[in-house]
């Protein structure tokens, strides 16, 4: 962690609200991204990210400075999202609107936007086939490059459990990808066969 962050953390531990706001500014993207990947909806992700920072702020005294702050934050976010998903079934919402707002500023290239939208949709469809804890493990592994031990610590699981969850998830994701690919191929074939007017 760099010096300003250490200082913000020190000040936050002493109850400095402004210093914690700096930490929110610094870590908003990874926390939001985790929530978004877990919940699949921008507004729910915003609420979950806000709630994550609120919980972290409330329990900052429980934070162990020997551990990475982002790991601690992501652990809070993952647990919150797992609870949220257990509480209710995910509503299906349009992802197109979301991308316009959530992706970083880029040149307005419609083709690129369309392909990104497709990709995001595909990722979301894939992740939705996993159960909540498996999804959290996959997200932490592939978006945040967490080791199996770090995932185990973040999700309160044993390393063995994380290994088997990741193994099962990879198989499930590969199978789902094959199913989606077969569907796409079927659609394309139908389009090619349709008579031209």
């Amino acid at each position: 962690m760099s010096n300003p962050e250490t200082e913000w953390l020190q000040r936050s531990l002493q109850g400095d609200e402004d210093a914690f706001a700096c930490l929110v500014e610094r870590y908003q993207n990874p926390v939001f991204n985790l929530c978004y990947r877990m919940l699949g909806d921008e507004f729910e992700a915003e609420d979950a990210a806000q709630e994550t920072f609120w919980r972290a702020y409330q329990h900052i005294q429980r934070y162990d400075p020997q551990r990475s702050f982002i790991t601690w934050l992501l652990s809070i976010a993952a647990h919150y999202c797992i609870d949220q998903q257990r509480k209710r079934r995910m509503p299906i919402l349009a992802i197109d609107d979301l991308l316009e707002e959530t992706l970083p500023d880029q040149a307005p290239d419609p083709e690129r936007m369309a392909s990104q939208t497709e990709e995001q949709k595909a990722i979301r469809n894939l992740l939705e086939t996993l159960n909540t804890q498996d999804k959290a493990a996959v997200i932490l592994r592939y978006w945040y490059d967490f080791s199996e031990e770090e995932i185990a610590r973040a999700l309160n699981l044993s390393t063995g459990a994380v290994k088997s969850r990741l193994f099962r998830s990879r198989q499930a994701l590969a199978n789902q990808w094959q199913t989606e690919a077969a569907k796409r191929a079927g659609k394309e074939r139908k389009q090619d066969e349709s008579p031209a007017f």
Binding site: E17, A21, C22, V24, E25, Q28, N29, P30, F32, N33, Y36, R37, E42, A45, E46, A49, Q50, F53, W54, Y57, E101, T102, L103, P104, Q116, E119, Q120, A122, I123, L126, V138, Y142, W143, E148, K163, L166, F167, R170, Q171, L173, A174, N175, W177, Q178, A181
Partner: protein
């Protein structure tokens, strides 16, 4: 065809040694099923690792700070509610305990008699209070006359003092205004 251990190798995070890699490659050449799975997983992994980080709407931190006050107020309200509920629960438990105690230590007839006895005592108490107030009202007129004269004299004294003070105040103020004009 036996897909093990190749299928496990495909989905495990462990690094394969050179010999295992050769074995896997050979198996993939003859097993279309494992080949499809390998291809699918490679695509999924690429999608996951190359996907961009989703970002919140601008001013996320400002929104968080703005919500702090509301969250604190909500938390305080919840704590008050919890305390009140705990107190009400405790009171209910004590009441329940008392009821159980009374029912276990005396018979229903005794309880009924004591309830009637207490009610009668309360009613008698009210009657006594009413009688006391009535006698007080009878005694008051004679006692009041002296009190009223004293009150009137007091008020007149107060009004006189107030009148003298206001005359002095107005005259004093008038002089000041005159000085200011000059």
């Amino acid at each position: 065809m036996n897909h093990q251990p190749f299928n496990s190798w495909l989905f495990e995070d462990n690094e394969l040694d050179a010999a295992q890699l050769v074995e896997l490659k050979q198996h993939l050449q003859v097993c279309p099923e494992c080949q499809r799975e390998s291809h699918a997983w490679a695509n999924v992994k690429h999608m996951l690792t190359s996907s961009e980080t989703a970002q919140p709407r601008p001013e996320f931190a400002a929104r968080w700070q703005a919500s702090l006050t509301a969250r604190r107020a909500r938390q305080e309200r919840r704590q008050v509610r919890i305390t009140l509920m705990a107190l009400a629960g405790a009171a209910l438990l004590v009441l329940l305990g008392l009821v159980i105690y009374f029912f276990s230590t005396s018979s229903l007839a005794n309880l009924f008699a004591s309830v009637i006895g207490t009610s009668t005592q309360v009613a008698v108490g009210f009657v006594n209070i009413a009688e006391f107030v009535e006698s007080l009202l009878r005694f008051l007129p004679t006692a009041l006359s002296t009190g009223i004269w004293l009150l009137l004299a007091g008020w007149i004294c107060l009004l006189c003092i107030a009148w003298v003070y206001s005359v002095w105040r107005v005259s004093h103020k008038g002089v000041n205004v005159h000085e200011e004009i000059n």
